[in-house]
Amino acid sequence: MEIVVCVKPVPEAETRLRVGADGTGFDTEGVKFVLAGYDESAVEQALLLKEANPGSRVHVVSAGPSPRADEVLRASIALGCDVATHVDLPTTGASTDPVAVARALAVAVAAAPHDLVICGKQAGDDEAGLVAAALGELLGVPDFGYVVDLRYDAARKLLTFERSAEGGQELWEAPLPCVIGLQQAWNDPRTAKLPAILKSRKAPIAKVAPGAGGTTPSSRPEKFELPPPRLGAKLIEFKTPQEAAQKLVRILREEAKVFP
């Protein structure tokens, strides 16, 4: 099976967000970029499928600015992905529009074998969650978002998975090719070993141009705002647990008005 994983570099979770100089995005100065949380899971899922289906190959693709895209591609190779492709996008413009990013990714995905494409269901920065669906349409294949418990039934040549929908967990069977927006999260995805990390630094990364679609954003961020800082909890003083409970319930009803 030819598996493609699409990954996006995002600021690591501990980053203290600041507004950038032009006010339209966050300040990237000194920010460490890592694999987006669900993308890290997508890589793990791809590697699990590869291990369960001998002869499979995992191709990792990222569309975004250098050097952060190269860094997450090398991190993916260190984890066990076989080949990597980078679609270079500028830091502003196309890379800030999820649809343009999907179009750029599609150029690289379509040019190589792709039975199964796995994306994280959304990235932790813009949280748009548009790429898997747009990519499905661009490749002319079905896509599924919010997928967990993804398996491949080699005998029947079918993907089987669950999709977390409002009405419950939907069970699906889908032939390949197909695009998956993965919601599954492993709390302990594999970590790269030092020799693999060192080797990944020299791994070749194919460079692909984004094509016309990938360079024309149809939306652009105008303003990036941080909420006023939380001042810290107002602590409730009490002598008995009952007093604490009464005071809190009164505050929640009368001051915060969160329940009747």
């Binding site: 747009a134 069970l171 999260a185 009803r253 329940f259 009747p260």
Partner: protein, 328 residues
């Protein structure tokens, strides 16, 4: 022909879901004076569900009454929506904040060549497009985004907009052809639906109130204290990663970076220290209450109200007090 605004009606049990109805108000805000609102429904019960739109003031409804669309992948549905958008000369499609709504908009961005955005909490018309606001970075920031072009597709954030008020108009349903949807888009089959793996009460992502427990709760049996408090409030039950890693509750309960991101009206954190992993998943809640015996726990920095005390005393007292005032 006048440009129109199409509202995507997602069905459950033969009716348009509340999330789709929230899209009606947004569509009205974005429609120009001469624009007409048009509804869209699909599936075997589409025709009868079209009446739900008429009840809320949308008389013209396009119906793709193809039973295959009842359980089709979103790609097939998007094909029909794009056809309806072209038939009705729409320049804007608005979908509710559901899993289908969001995927639909991603497909439409390509199929209908539209500018697209999801998780929209505010939307206003601007010259040549639409300006939206949306929450990013797990609620740690907000962006204002401009969508340009002749066609725009939006999926809203759930609960961000009010349900419309009833204003019945006569229904005029029109059929949309579905014969040209490629067979490959119907190839995947839905083989069943399982009830969600959660306790009693609403789901984490839908709930107005969430009560979550952490390591401080000490064990799977003691976790019932958290669930009792949630039950008294009609709340969903959440958990920190420590709880799900320890197997006290399934991973579907987990709130945080690798679990669910939530933004209820009220979030009560019980025995949760407040690791950044957890904070990023709940910090955009409107009101946060923390109950923890350690006054230096980082959770008190993001909470609005705090009780420093023994949760095994405080939580039962709180459950009793909530039951008393709510009469449950």
């Amino acid at each position: 022909m006048t440009p129109n605004v199409l509202v995507f009606g997602e069905l459950q049990d033969g009716h348009v879901v509340p999330a789709s109805l929230e899209a009606i108000g947004v569509a009205r805000t974005l429609a120009g004076a001469s624009d007409q609102l048009v509804g869209f429904v699909a599936g075997a019960r589409g025709e009868s569900a079209a009446a739900d739109f008429a009840r809320f003031g949308i008389g013209r409804v396009l119906v793709a009454d193809d039973p295959r669309l009842d359980s089709a992948p979103v790609g097939a549905v998007a094909h029909a929506v794009a056809a309806a958008a072209r038939t009705s000369n729409a320049r804007l499609v608005v979908a509710g904040g559901t899993t289908v709504g969001r995927d639909l908009v991603g497909r439409l961005a390509v199929r209908w060549e539209a500018a697209a955005s999801t998780g929209v909490t505010e939307a206003a018309p601007v010259d040549g497009g639409v300006r939206v606001r949306r929450s990013v970075f797990g609620g740690r920031a907000t962006e204002t985004r401009r969508l340009d072009g002749e066609r725009v597709a939006l999926a809203l954030r759930p609960h961000a907009f009010p349900a419309p008020t009833e204003a019945a108009v006569p229904l005029s349903a029109e059929k949309v052809a579905t014969a040209d949807i490629p067979a490959a888009l119907f190839a995947p089959k839905r083989t069943g639906v399982k009830a969600p793996d959660r306790g009693a009460g609403p789901s984490l992502t839908d709930a107005a109130i969430i009560v979550s427990g952490g390591r401080g709760v000490r064990g799977p049996n003691e976790f019932r204290l958290v669930e009792d408090l949630a039950a008294s409030l009609g709340a969903a039950v959440g958990a920190s990663r420590a709880v799900t890693d320890a197997g006290w509750r399934p991973t579907s309960f987990q709130v945080g970076q690798t679990g669910k991101a939530v933004s209820p009206q009220l979030y009560v954190a019980v025995g949760i220290s407040g690791a950044i992993q957890h904070i990023v998943g709940m910090v955009s809640s409107r009101v946060i209450v923390a109950i923890n015996s350690d006054a230096s726990a980082p959770i008190f920095k993001v909470a609005d109200y705090g009780i420093v005390g023994d949760l095994f005393e405080i939580v039962p007292a709180l459950t009793a007090e909530v039951r008393r005032v709510r009469g449950v």
